[in-house]
Symmetry: none
Subunit: 499 residues, 2 copies
């Protein structure tokens, strides 16, 4: 194997090795089971140290693209191959289900957004990145460069700028997904990705399944499109397959919406075996999978679960990602990846939504990615968020020992279960009055829940702020138990209602 390595490039040699082999897999030159050269051989052929080659192979292994066997060598993984298999056409069920009656009532999502807007609020309510990490300088350079061509301010292709799709394709590969730029549709963040998918692929009256708790946006969207959401409970291993199977038979769902990796709000990931079961159910019951992977790149503890799309052999997974969490929300850029059968209706829905995403922003992001800034950005934020997550773990242990909480290995949020005697609404409201914003658990459910929860997001605050905010919550819990009646009265009279 002959690789083209550039010793003067900013990209380290081991990464160049990894990138080039990944590209060979993506383009189908290397197929599953192919044996890579030995570390020794490749090092010798290219005048490299063995450590360099080993590091490159290790990166490929982390991404699940190759597998090493002691004494035998390194091979392209089975699942790497599924990437280049053309997606099978899905013949779809047309289940006749009664029209939706689900209504969101109060717009809890707006409530979340507004909570983050209050000045002087120490808010854990929104799953937002640390603004200190936003790539202002690099983006400014990219924008200036791109604006040298006036057509950066023109209309562009509905599917998205080719140069951005060409940069997104290798990024998907880092998540084990081999899709060409032609299979990618640029969207205004994941929210539009979901909207466009529901517009294009479901019709009023259809049933969609979603794990619960769930990102509130999906419930509002489903209501807006006349779809019925059926909740599938989840546990530490993600969506529960048994209940899912029952729901499939009972409801004949059109699609299943899922956040299998670092799920919002719990931060948990789907057990790989369950992922396989989910894919099998999709084939058996003829539904589509809408996989929301906006947190997939924010992994803090070693191995990262592969998305469903990486194991999708039947072309049923519509994959949604976004730069809002991993880079900056203000870009309003994300992407969908889908088989050719679905891309045309998705693009048509995108077009009728808002024609195109800003060509200028797309080109600037493409340039930012091409210049290789994103890899180091991800490295930086992963370290930062791990530290913040750990600070929140510690603060929860210290100040809220009577609460249960998840221990996510990635993402931006922790899901806290309040003690049974605590009223979620009162607690979260009082927390806000004391200057600490939290997202109340009910926002993530379609039905009222017996137990109280809250989602705490740790991405946008330094460890000392996290400690301070969680301490306020701990004090509140104690006060709440002591003076419950008094507090309720106070909250009712407050001059600062939380709207």
């Amino acid at each position: 194997m002959k690789l083209l390595l550039d010793r003067h490039s900013d990209t380290p040699l081991y990464r160049q090795i990894a990138e080039q082999i990944r590209e060979l897999i993506r383009t189908g030159v290397l197929t599953a089971g192919c044996r890579l050269p030995t570390v020794r051989r490749l090092a010798l052929d290219h005048g490299l140290t063995r450590l360099t080659v080993q590091s490159g192979y290790a990166e490929l292994q982390t991404q699940g693209l190759v597998e090493s066997y002691v004494g035998r060598g390194t091979f392209v993984a089975e699942r790497a191959q599924t990437m280049s298999i053309p997606t099978a056409r899905a013949a779809l069920s047309r289940s006749a289900v009664d029209p939706a009656t689900w209504r969101s009532g109060s717009s809890l999502l707006s409530e979340l957004v507004r909570m983050g807007e209050q000045p002087q609020m120490l808010s854990f309510a929104q799953a937002i990145p640390a603004s200190s990490t936003y790539p202002t300088r690099e983006l400014q350079q990219a924008l200036s460069r791109v604006l040298q061509h006036p057509d950066a301010l023109d209309y562009g292709p509905i599917q998205g700028e080719a140069e951005l799709r060409e940069q997104v394709s290798p990024l998907l590969l880092e998540r084990g997904i081999a899709e060409s730029p032609e299979a990618i549709l640029i969207s205004a963040g994941a929210q539009q990705g979901i909207d466009v998918a529901l517009r294009a692929l479901a019709k009023p009256g259809d049933v969609i399944l979603a794990e619960q708790p769930v990102y509130p946006g999906i419930m509002e969207l489903a209501a807006a499109h006349g779809l019925r959401v059926v909740a599938i409970p989840m546990d530490e291993g993600g969506m529960r397959v048994q209940e899912l199977e029952v729901a499939c038979s009972a409801h004949r769902p059109r699609l299943v919406y899922t956040v299998p990796t670092f799920h919002n709000p719990t931060g948990l990931s789907l057990d790989p075996d369950r992922g396989e079961a989910l894919l099998a159910l999709a084939r058996e019951h003829d539904f589509l999978l809408l996989e929301d992977d906006v947190y997939g790149l924010l992994a803090y503890d070693g191995e990262v679960p592969l998305p469903l799309k990486a194991r999708d052999q039947s072309g049923r997974v519509i994959y949604i990602t976004s730069f809002s969490k991993s880079l900056a929300p203000g870009l309003r850029l994300g992407a969908l990846a889908a088989g050719p059968d679905w891309l045309a209706p998705l693009a048509a829905a995108k077009q009728s939504s808002d024609l195109i995403c800003s060509s200028l922003m797309q080109r600037a992001l493409a340039l930012y990615l091409r210049r290789g800034h994103f890899a180091s950005h991800l490295q930086e934020v992963r370290i930062l968020y791990r530290e913040r997550r750990d600070a929140m773990f510690k603060a929860l242990d210290t100040y809220l020992p009577s609460c249960g909480y998840t221990r996510p290995r990635g993402g931006l949020s922790i899901w806290v279960t309040l003690p049974e005697d605590i009223d979620e609404y009162d607690f979260c409201r009082e927390a806000t009055l004391r200057g600490v914003g939290v997202a109340r658990g009910q926002a993530f459910f379609a039905q009222p829940q017996p137990h109280g929860h809250m989602r705490l997001c740790f991405g946008s605050h330094a460890p000392d702020q996290i400690e301070q905010g969680v301490r306020v919550l701990g004090e509140l819990l104690q006060d709440y138990r002591r003076h419950r009646t008094l507090l309720l009265a106070r909250a009712g009279l407050s001059a600062h209602p939380l709207v």
Copy 2:
């Protein structure tokens, strides 16, 4: 009956026949009891086999839309009309599920967009500004300034950045509209403005009225939302009020979509008296007016008609504007102005569509506006576009004297009526093959039209290019008459199909 059949479409001819007749029934052009042409007649008129026509009729019969009686003929079924809403919705739903139907469905808007993308094409097809006028330098400065605050890359308010709404408010005043920043919602261009308005203010099965010809986006959007569009004819004075009144009584519309100023595609403006009548009808029949004013600032000949919103006393006008035509499409920024009753549902629809518009772009545009660049920009482009429009007038007089055309006092397009013996589809297709892109008239109608039209946009080409392009069209018209058969054959064999 004249149907527009596309022999190069993926959709079989019999299905095209069925779809077009279904559309005629749906839009009320063909009503219950109407007799369809005989199979023999329709086959003869369109050069088809009888089997093809029979298959099309059979499909309509299966759907219960027509009834055949031996010896008498084929008639629109009694129940076809009462069914028309649910049936139309079911048809839409089917197309939303079946990608094959989608792709072959008449996505004429995509066709327009693609036409502009062909390299070396001198295209008058898209209503786009002159890219030479895009404010690249000022915008670059504004972006650099705004990016000094990292929160420019954060999430912002759903309604839009306050600083941008504060700049838009005085701009509306230039159009005679006094609305505070609180009454403004920022959108991703007018397309999203329309989408959001339809999402928030209409429900599936509602009827909306629109002047025809009409911006094609509204028809695609209405179909996507399960709305029925009833076409109101227009003349030199805009939408015809008498027909509008009849339609109001017959259809009880939820809203009327209109482009009263420098209408797309005709460039004409609504007579002020008709505007008053329209506002009175809105009160009387209790419907909303969706006023699309994206061309309102592009006026070239003195006095500019006031928008309906400026005379709206009952708060029934939802006003939509955009910076795409007056400044640059790549910004993807526009605005809605509406009374307080409508703003909350509009903002909720915006939120579920894509949460927010890019904070960065909003702030940069706000700064651009605050620095006063927009006024001089408008002055510059008005002079430029007037010159280009006049060049096109002159070229049309010179090279297409047998065509009728509008004489717009603003906007970006001229509406050309082809001579009766010219087949619009063939003419526009051949024009494209000769390197001159035009938007075919049919794209702006819901039903097949007896006369051929084309929309010519003059904004993005210099006078000499305009002269050159229109000359090609004039030569084509002459050639077409001389060698009609030959041309048709050539078009059919071309290696460069216009998809």
